[in-house]
């Protein structure tokens, strides 16, 4: 009860705080907007979300293209591709990707997809677009910090992009940038200037996600409209809230690790370096510990996995419920399992380090805690399946991608149980089994969540629909392709085929997989081409898509569909609507859906 009164207090503060003038004059009359303030230095959360999304799309094309390039090398090691030499010069001398360049491509593929696409592009986009719209606020707690958050991301992008063009090439020590390789310029070409660019870019990126995360938390907790108690929030909001908490608590630790690495690289300190000989030269550093970096890195690195996954989970929960015309099954269990995952995220980092010489006794605890994640994950899967069970399912593109997400999450989650066992990990670590696991469960699954979100909320973002035919082609090819690419990798991984090799043709144990590798590469190219079809669909539909005529095209309960089709800065032309119920009253008392703004009737049954 007390939380209820507090909510009202916040709501009052919120409406006083933001854009008083809009309430009086309606949204068309606010201050003159130039091109610059509307599209570039905008403080409107919806525009900032679109900026994140489009920057993310550009990065996804670059990062995806890199994977296609190194798959060319892996799939057809005996062939040469002269166009590669035209494009990359000495990096692809004779039409074959050099070993150095292969590492650079893999490193950039990982960095770009993990941070720039699936962190900034995913939670940056949907947190910005959805938070104020779904909690009933005119904008973020601080529009200015929000704008800064995007522009720090943009700066980080510029620095990372520039690093692709320097003479010694971009960072190439893997996206985890383990020292001593990343700390010593003489160790490899990519550890020279490219590594400094990488660190600077990531420092900017961390500032961006911290500014964003602070805003998301503060907005969700303080600016909810009247009646929107925490337990009435749509699950997207809960998921984004936990994502932001994870980011705010774990990114600073990565920053500490990166700062110490910068010291080691440029100031000759020995935090991570000890007794090293490079190319016959004995280095003076002593007393450092490379494992220390891994602890600091994975303390972020593991929560980062959930930073990527949780927003997708939240959006999928919402989309499954809306398109099954059924309430979400076990709302509180969904919130509870999100909370459990967020807590466990901080307690399992050492499972990335089972083979670094970690004390096996300590390892046992991390095995236990890691396997515990299966419990909340299973709760979520169960609830998703029971939500669509006997539902009146509408197979919209968003819904298909949401169902695809659940499928991929199950497939990828199950292999996590293998990898979470430290004994099995002795055999499986650094093999293609790991590649298959994390690509399915974190990479492709989160991409599916993101696609689901884009298809579902595109009408809200641009007032138009995406083309359905292209969407269905996109879905089916991507789903089938994702399984065809990553499923076979489990087999080669179990056979022990290691990652990070450019060529196995002279390696007797593994050249039996050559045919499979060529097959995977071919599928990867097809899937990449279909993603370009999606990009085309996206930009085409912004300008030429079918117009949205209905204010609430999906028949959804949440507040974003009570705004005008093309909401202005301030979202609602009049007062912010008041909320009277949770977001999941679908198929209740013979009614298809009951929006959150509708007061509870006298004879209404309880959900």
């Amino acid at each position: 009860m007390s939380s209820e009164t507090i909510t009202h207090g916040h709501a009052a503060a919120a409406s006083v705080h933001s854009h008083d003038s809009h309430e009086a004059h309606g949204h068309d009359h606010h201050h003159e907007e130039s091109f610059l303030t509307k599209y570039v230095f905008s403080t409107d959360h919806k525009m900032i979300g679109k900026q994140f999304l489009i920057t993310g799309i550009i990065w996804a094309i670059i990062g995806g293209l890199f994977s296609v390039l190194f798959r060319l090398q892996l799939g057809y090691p005996e062939m040469t591709f002269p166009f590669l030499e035209d494009l990359f010069g000495k990096w692809a001398a004779g039409g074959r990707i050099t070993n150095e360049f292969y590492y650079a491509l893999v490193t950039m593929h990982g960095t770009i997809l993990v941070f720039f696409v699936l962190t900034a592009g995913l939670s940056g986009t949907f947190a910005n677009i959805l938070i104020p719209l779904q909690i009933g606020a005119r904008d973020m707690a601080s529009g200015f910090l929000n704008m800064l958050s995007y522009w720090f991301f943009f700066l980080a992008s510029v620095v990372m992009f520039a690093s692709l063009f320097i003479q010694t090439g971009p960072a190439s020590g893997g996206w985890t940038i383990y020292p001593p390789l990343s700390a010593l310029g003489q160790a490899s070409e990519g550890s020279k200037l490219g590594m400094d660019f990488w660190l600077i870019s990531m420092a900017l990126f961390i500032v961006s996600s911290l500014l964003g995360g602070l805003n998301y938390i503060s907005t969700i907790l303080n600016l909810r409209t009247k009646g929107m108690s925490m337990t009435r929030l749509p699950l997207t909001m809960w998921a984004i809230f936990f994502t932001a908490v994870l980011g705010v608590l774990s990114f600073p630790v990565l920053l500490s690790g990166a700062v110490l690495l910068l010291f080691d690289r440029n100031l000759g300190t020995s935090f991570y370096l000890s007794e090293i000989v490079v190319k016959g030269e004995i280095l003076p550093n002593e007393g450092g510990s490379a494992i220390l970096f891994q602890h600091l890195f994975w303390f972020l690195g593991h929560p980062e996995v959930y930073i990527i996954l949780l927003p997708a989970m939240g959006m999928v929960s919402e989309i499954l419920s809306v398109n099954s015309r059924k309430p979400i099954f076990g709302y509180l269990a969904m919130v509870g399992s999100l909370f459990a995952i967020a807590i466990l995220a901080f307690l399992v980092w050492a499972h990335h380090m089972f083979v670094t010489g970690l004390n096996p006794f300590l390892g046992a605890f991390f095995v236990l805690l890691t396997l515990l994640i299966a419990v909340p994950s299973a709760i979520k899967v169960f609830n998703w399946l029971t939500t669509i069970w006997r539902g009146n399912i509408r197979f919209t593109p968003g819904m298909l991608f949401a169902i695809g997400f659940v499928s991929l999450f199950i497939s990828g989650g199950l292999t996590g149980i293998f990898l979470g066992n430290s004994t099995l990990d002795i055999h499986l670590h650094d093999t293609y089994f790991v590649i298959a696991h994390f690509h399915i469960v974190m990479g492709v699954a989160s991409f599916f969540g993101m696609f689901a979100g884009v298809y579902h909320w595109f009408p809200k973002m641009y007032g138009r629909y995406l083309n359905n035919t292209m969407a269905y082609i996109h879905f089916w090819v991507t789903l089938v392709g994702a399984y065809l690419i990553f499923w076979p990798m489990h087999y080669s991984g179990l056979a022990g085929m290691p990652r990070r090799y450019t060529d196995w043709s002279n390696w007797q144990s593994f050249n039996q997989f050559q045919g499979m590798n060529s097959f995977i590469s071919t599928v990867a190219m097809i899937v990449f081409a279909v993603q370009l079809l999606f990009v085309f669909n996206f930009f085409y539909s912004i300008f030429k898509g079918r117009k949205v005529k209905d204010q609430n095209p999906w028949g959804a309960n949440t507040l974003e569909w009570t705004t005008p089709i093309n909401p202005g800065h301030g979202n609602w032309p009049g007062d912010i609507p008041e909320v009277h119920r949770w977001a999941y009253d679908y198929g209740k008392d013979g009614r298809e859906f009951i929006p959150q703004t509708e007061p509870v009737g006298a004879h209404e049954s309880k959900h």
Binding site: H10, V248, P252, L267, G287
Partner: protein, 191 residues
Amino acid sequence: MTGTMIEQRKKIHPHKFTLWVGIGSILMMFAGLTSAYIVKRSQASWLMLEIPIIFWYSTAAILASSVTVHLALRAMKQRELMTYRRWLVVTAVLGVLFLVLQIAGFMQFEAKDIRLIGAGSNASYSFLLAISGLHGLHVLGGVIALVVITIRAISSSVRNYNTVPLEIVATYWHFVDLLWIYLFIFFNWMK
């Protein structure tokens, strides 16, 4: 009276709330660094820290600045603008003094032939430099915020009694002060 108190408690300003979350975030960064320090300390070739006396002076300076920023806030709430400006300037000067003393402290290591960076440096002193340096950057951020507020207070022709910006800066300032006290005790205790 109690009624208004509750009214005020309910309306925590969103920007203030954001600051508190931000403080949590900064704390995590230093928690990461100090736990790295503890891990490193238990390993071979660790040098015992000798902390020069000058760091006690800088500690005193930053403690005093916390008092003056509090006085500034009180003066503003009582709408004594002249006193308020004076204490703001004093706080900023004390902040700069703190930074100067810190830098002077690190200069002294050179005289004692202790290497903080470069060949022959030991991780223990490098940690001291890295952690205090990062803390110093946070103090510098606070000084800049104070200067901005002071310039606004002096140059603005309109009298502004909105206490929120100063309250935010004051909270942050107390935080970097407490953070330094924590680090100082930590370094002295965990040599």
